[in-house]
């Protein structure tokens, strides 16, 4: 994939948590203007990958290039600048500021980075809140929201500055079916209308297949497969097929690495 087509290029990335290698020589690139869903078993480093792309974690080796910027070469200020201009991220927990109400939470990036008049800020915020269906909650505090609602507010906040890249960490968890349908539609329409590059970390294969242009299957710190959803669903690779279809039997490991089960039981108490 050439640089013009790919928004993010990762080469030979290695990242360790203590002694354990989360990624070893990972190379992958994510195309510009498309929705790419990153799927894979729990604990395989999907969220870590988003944090590496956002520059919140520093890899041991390898390069991460976001929109032509090599993250390792950027100063702290330049990194903040890049995030401000082109990145938005939806955190798993929502990460709303607990001392601000819903309206102020969504308005926070706009107020901080621009000198727009109050009337315009109000319009912007209300438009984003309307898009996630929560305009009526503008005066509530984050503690008064349910988990799913907090995440929708956080989604509104992450897109309020119209970034080029939005990273969604588990956007579908804890949503009721109607909200789920709306958020799926919203992510897709944002992508189409504004030409955003979207990265979606999710466990929801069915939903992600419906909106993602590409699927990236991560497992064991490697990219197991990268391609269009339909293509991967019919993949030759048994592990990929097993994961995407959610079959209990197959080569994909279910257990976290451990000593032999029988021996472990027979060994008794240390």
């Amino acid at each position: 994939m050439s640089d013009r087509q790919s928004y993010i290029t990762i080469e030979n990335l290695s990242f360790y948590r203590g002694e354990r290698a989360v990624f070893k020589d990972l190379s992958v690139s994510f195309p510009r203007g498309k929705v790419t869903a990153i799927v894979g078993p729990s604990g395989t480093g999907k969220t870590t990958l988003l944090k590496l792309i956002g520059g919140q974690l520093t890899p041991e080796s390898g390069t991460i290039i976001v929109d032509g910027n090599d993250l390792q070469q950027l100063s702290r200020t330049a990194m903040l600048e890049l995030r401000r201009e082109s990145m938005g991220m939806l955190f798993q927990s929502g990460a709303l500021f607990t001392d601000l109400n819903v309206f102020e939470n969504v308005a926070f990036p706009v107020r901080t980075h621009t000198d727009l008049p109050e009337s315009l800020i109000r319009h912007l915020v209300l438009m984003k809140l309307e898009a996630v269906g929560l305009r009526g909650t503008r005066d509530l505090m984050p503690a008064e929201l349910s988990g799913g609602m907090a995440r929708r507010i956080a989604l509104a906040r992450s897109i309020v500055m119209d970034p080029d890249l939005v990273m969604y960490d588990e956007p579908f968890t804890g949503l009721d079916p109607v909200s789920l349908g709306m958020i799926v539609k919203l992510i897709k329409s944002l992508n189409e209308a504004l030409g955003l590059t979207s990265l979606l970390v999710t466990h929801d294969i069915e939903e992600s297949c419906s909106i993602a242009d590409y699927l990236c299957v991560l497992s064991g710190g490697k990219v197991l497969a990268f391609g269009e959803p339909q293509e991967l669903l019919n993949s030759e690779n048994a592990e990929v097929r097993q994961f995407l279809r959610g079959e209990p039997d197959g080569p994909m490991p279910f257990h976290y690495p451990a000593a032999d089960y029988r021996q472990d039981l027979l060994q008794g108490v240390d």
Binding site: K51, G54, Q56, R76, T77, L80, E81, L82, R83, R84, E85, M87, G88, M89, F91, Q92, S93, A95, L96, F97, T98, F108, P109, T112, H113, A154, S158, M161
Partner: protein, 260 residues
């Protein structure tokens, strides 16, 4: 033996490492400005939460400490027939020592611990990470106003503590044990020097303000983002800053009295 040495060395390295980190944090957050920096409004909000909300504990404690000083001082001085010097004793003790020190200890428990817990929880709930992802430097946005609020509030609180303490002493001296009002205030006025007693006490409390708030924000910012980690960081804020205040008090006193 070797492993014990290793453990000792490791601990030493860790302490030096955290002093280094804390210094970097201080240098990066002491100045205003930068992307998404906090404004004057944030400073006022923080002064309210660390300073104004500490007023009750400072005033009540100051009054009682002053009353106790009055009683104890009277019982000592009366034996020498110099109970009219009670005003001098109460005021000098408070202005030079107890005002800055007790205020700093109370401040560490009341405001320092809450700063640590607040920042630690912001970290645990990914609010600081979210800020970073919006291109806002959490050091400038969250740490700077809190740091300055502590530095500004501490000397004011210490002055109030001494003031209320002197009143407490006067209440005991004049109303309870019956020392002449003119003697209490007059002797005090004659003995207290503005630079040597008042200003030096204020300098102490400014130093304590920097140290206690610095320890509190550093502990919060570097806390392990779990409930256990935040609990531990909060305790450490109180323990480390109390010890630092007492240790620094000796050094500052020695320097100011010219003993070192």
């Amino acid at each position: 033996m070797l492993t014990q040495l290793q453990v000792l060395g490791q601990k030493g390295v860790r302490i030096i490492e955290s002093i280094g980190r804390a210094t970097v944090l201080l240098l990066n957050s002491i100045l205003w400005g930068g992307p998404g920096s906090a404004g004057f409004k944030d400073l006022v909000k923080q002064i309210y939460s660390v300073g104004v909300q500490s007023l009750v504990i400072i005033i009540v404690a100051g009054f009682f400490v002053g009353m106790v000083l009055g009683l104890q001082g009277y019982s000592i001085l009366v034996d020498f027939g110099s109970e009219t010097a009670l005003g001098i004793m109460v005021s000098l003790t408070l202005l030079r020592e107890l005002g800055p020190v007790v205020t700093a200890l109370l401040f560490a428990g009341r405001a320092g611990s809450s700063l640590t817990a607040e920042i630690g929880l912001m970290k645990a709930t990914e609010q600081l990470a979210a800020m970073e992802m919006m291109g806002v430097d959490p050091l400038k946005r969250v740490i700077t106003p809190r740091l300055w609020a502590g530095i500004i509030s501490m000397p004011i609180l210490a002055i109030l503590f001494s003031l209320v303490g002197i009143w407490g002493g006067a209440f005991v001296a004049i109303d309870l044990v019956g020392i002449d009002e003119g003697a209490y205030w007059g002797n005090m006025q004659g003995a207290v020097e503005f630079y040597n007693d008042v200003v030096k006490g204020i300098i102490k409390s400014i130093v304590f303000g920097v140290v206690v708030t610095w320890i509190a924000v550093y502990q919060g910012y570097s806390a392990i983002p779990t409930s256990e980690g935040i609990g531990k960081a909060t305790t450490q804020t109180v323990v480390i800053s109390s010890l630092a205040v007492l240790g620094l008090d000796f050094v500052l006193t020695a320097m100011m009295l010219g003993g070192l």
